[in-house]
């Protein structure tokens, strides 16, 4: 983690040779700091504090494509609109000379990061499910659990754009190894993201989860995310949440989590659908992240179905005015049948592909 953080940080606006010298010069000092690196600090914080620190450090965080190709492929990257890459250290200088922003990163460095799943619908017939909904491999819960984490995807063809969107939606520090055939699509997604209005709101949640770092708690987080049950990691039960979960407590015995899907359903019932900050109707294959600062809100909608969807209905708790909706592949998209009455605002998304971003302004 530390090596990667240093490598990445050292590249900002500097030449490679100077970076190397600086690195060697400050190495002892940096090693001294190792126990206090952000990862350690974040571990002691709840996810909101960790997100705040992370976002302050890099408010415009974009997922980074790991490009193994030689400099002869530079033109294809330029055509795809990609200006920044991660690449092997021995290729970094050449790429910089070609005008790219480069993070030098060895293969081993990539693999020291936490590997993510390919975002997609996956068959998991042996996993209990409360409904007939397909299983989705999604990584949002990992990002929420570990906002300061360093991640990487190793993606098959056709999944790069979705992974870029997923990582961006959660502001994750993610490196993407993509199939070269996906370069154009990945570049288009990065361009779409760059064109979005700036917004760095904290995440909105209804549930607090005290993370004991166990796989069971991880799976509970996964299923909460999967059901758009918005949670934050907290260190102690937080009074602003109607539900606080601590596995192993009397209220939530560990045995209850043996079936995470049923457990998530229990949490949902305890929270009450009417009290949820977010509901999505018309699909069970769109996972959302909602952020907001009281005055404004941003809704990231990630569509894992692999198909375009139209007429998805969104219900947000609270009163919002009609805002701006942008869909990857569509540009501005319509917010239809808009209705804002206490206690909630509802609207339909005319159409969306794999990713849409909705920006709203609170109306009271």
């Amino acid at each position: 983690m530390s090596f990667l953080a240093i490598s990445r940080g050292s590249q900002k606006g500097k030449k490679g040779k100077n970076n190397k010298n600086s690195f060697l010069l400050f190495l002892p000092f940096l090693l001294f700091l190792l126990p206090f690196t952000p990862q350690r600090i974040y571990d002691a914080l709840d996810s909101e504090a960790a997100e705040t620190q992370r976002d302050a450090a890099d408010p415009q965080r974009l997922p980074l494509i790991y490009w193994a190709g030689g400099i002869e492929t530079a033109e294809s990257l330029k055509q795809a609109g990609i200006e920044q890459i991660a690449t092997a250290p021995d290729k970094a200088v050449a790429w910089r000379k070609a005008g790219f922003k480069v993070v030098a990163l060895s293969q081993a460095g990539v693999e020291r990061r936490e590997k993510l799943l390919t975002p997609r619908i996956a068959g998991r017939a042996n996993v209990a499910s409360a409904t007939r909904r397909p299983w989705i491999d999604a990584n949002g819960w990992r990002f929420v659990r570990n906002p300061a984490g360093k991640f990487y995807y190793d993606l098959p063809r056709g999944k790069a754009a979705m992974a870029v969107a997923e990582a961006f939606a959660y502001k994750a520090d993610a490196i993407l190894k993509i199939d070269p055939a996906d370069l154009t699509e990945a570049g288009a997604m990065i361009a779409f993201i760059k064109n979005l209005p700036g917004a760095t709101h904290p995440a909105i949640a209804d549930i607090g989860v005290i993370d004991d770092k166990s796989p069971e708690t991880g799976e509970v987080m996964n299923l909460l995310t999967r059901r758009n049950l918005l949670f934050k990691v907290v260190t102690v039960p937080a009074p602003q949440f109607r539900v606080n979960i601590k596995l192993g407590s009397n209220e939530y015995p560990r045995t209850d989590a043996a079936n995470p899907s049923e457990f998530a359903q229990k949490i949902r019932q305890r929270l009450g659908d009417e009290n949820r900050s977010l509901r999505i109707y018309g699909t069970e294959m769109v996972i959302c992240r909602l952020t907001g600062d009281g005055a404004r809100a941003r809704l990231h909608m990630l569509n894992y179905s692999g198909r375009e969807a139209d007429g998805l209905r969104v219900r947000l708790r609270g009163n919002y005015g009609k805002g701006e909706a942008n869909g990857f592949g569509f540009g501005r998209i319509e917010m239809e049948d808009f209705g804002a009455n206490e206690p909630a605002t509802e609207f339909s998304i005319s159409k969306m592909g794999i990713y849409a971003v909705i920006d709203l302004i609170r109306s009271n």
Partner: protein
Amino acid sequence: MKRRTFVQLLAATPLATTIHANESKDVPKYKVVTPHKPAALPGMPGPYPGKVISVKSAKCLNEDGTKINGEVVREMMERGMREMTGEAKAIDSWRRFFTPEDIVGIKVNAGGRPWVVSSHEIVAETIRNLMAVGVKPQQIYIYERFQNQIDQVNYSPYLPEGVNIFAAERANARNNNQSYDPKVYVEADFFGEDDTRSNMIRLVSQQLTKIINIPNMKDHGATGATGCLKNIAYGSFSNVARTHHKGVSHTLSFVGALAAVEPLRSRTVLQIMDGLRGVWHAGPFAPTLKYVFFPRTIMFGTDPVAIDRLLLDIIDDERKRRGAISIWNRDEKTLDFNNGGARDKDPNVNIIIREPGHVEYAGNLGLGVHDIKKIEVKEIEV
């Protein structure tokens, strides 16, 4: 079993209704949201509650049942409509229901393709009569939920130019919602599904002024039999397959709950049950003739409950005749859920505990007459 029934209207929220049609804890709570008010005389059960005209003809199909005789169908429909209304002329029977200004939807059933669907001949004859009343072809919509199904039935060659064919979704994939009305829906949580709403097709809620329901005589793995009620209810709303899961079905209550939602209830004014052919097992599908039977019958009425009450017996009698278990059989030993293949092979396998009680439930919601002793059946042979 007699069920106590009542419908509670929440006066404080005029758009929202909570339906409690059964005291059983097994019946989910339904929140009905619609801005539409019922007509003075809702189409269901309409002007002829408890009345069913059953017109039979041996000549409506060829000997092996594979070809329909359009001329005989025309005569069957004329006789049925006249008998139902008491009019001397068929055109006057249709004028009782429709005016030239109406925008008319024809809810067909394309799920049992190719053998047990709303037949081209009955649909075409229905349209011919509507046009005779003065309804322009552009004001007529044949509708179904799924484009791929209605495409396979291929009504176009049988229709006058200008008649619309409408499907709400390209296929049963749950990614097309644009054709559903976000302001007319029933909300219920059956099995912990995330999407708890079933929305009415916009065509129904926003455009049509009248609807003709043309279901078939079909066995159904979840409802026992599917006829008028399920065709109009499950065929006019989104996200309905969620009511069956792991051998359990909430069709008992949901079929009637949906059919009762305004404006669907008020606008569905005529029921024409296509029983030329039927399917006695593995319905609602009929990809082969294996379970197809030939009632050679068309039933007419305005009361979907009364027609469906007769249908339950028709399907169950056919099953008994073939040595298959009753649609009322609730023995869990017959259950092999999620195994459509086993069900298709063996008429004594259920994939869901069937809920033929949905007809009685709908009757208790006021959609028609369920008590067989109170149903007046007029049988006609052509």
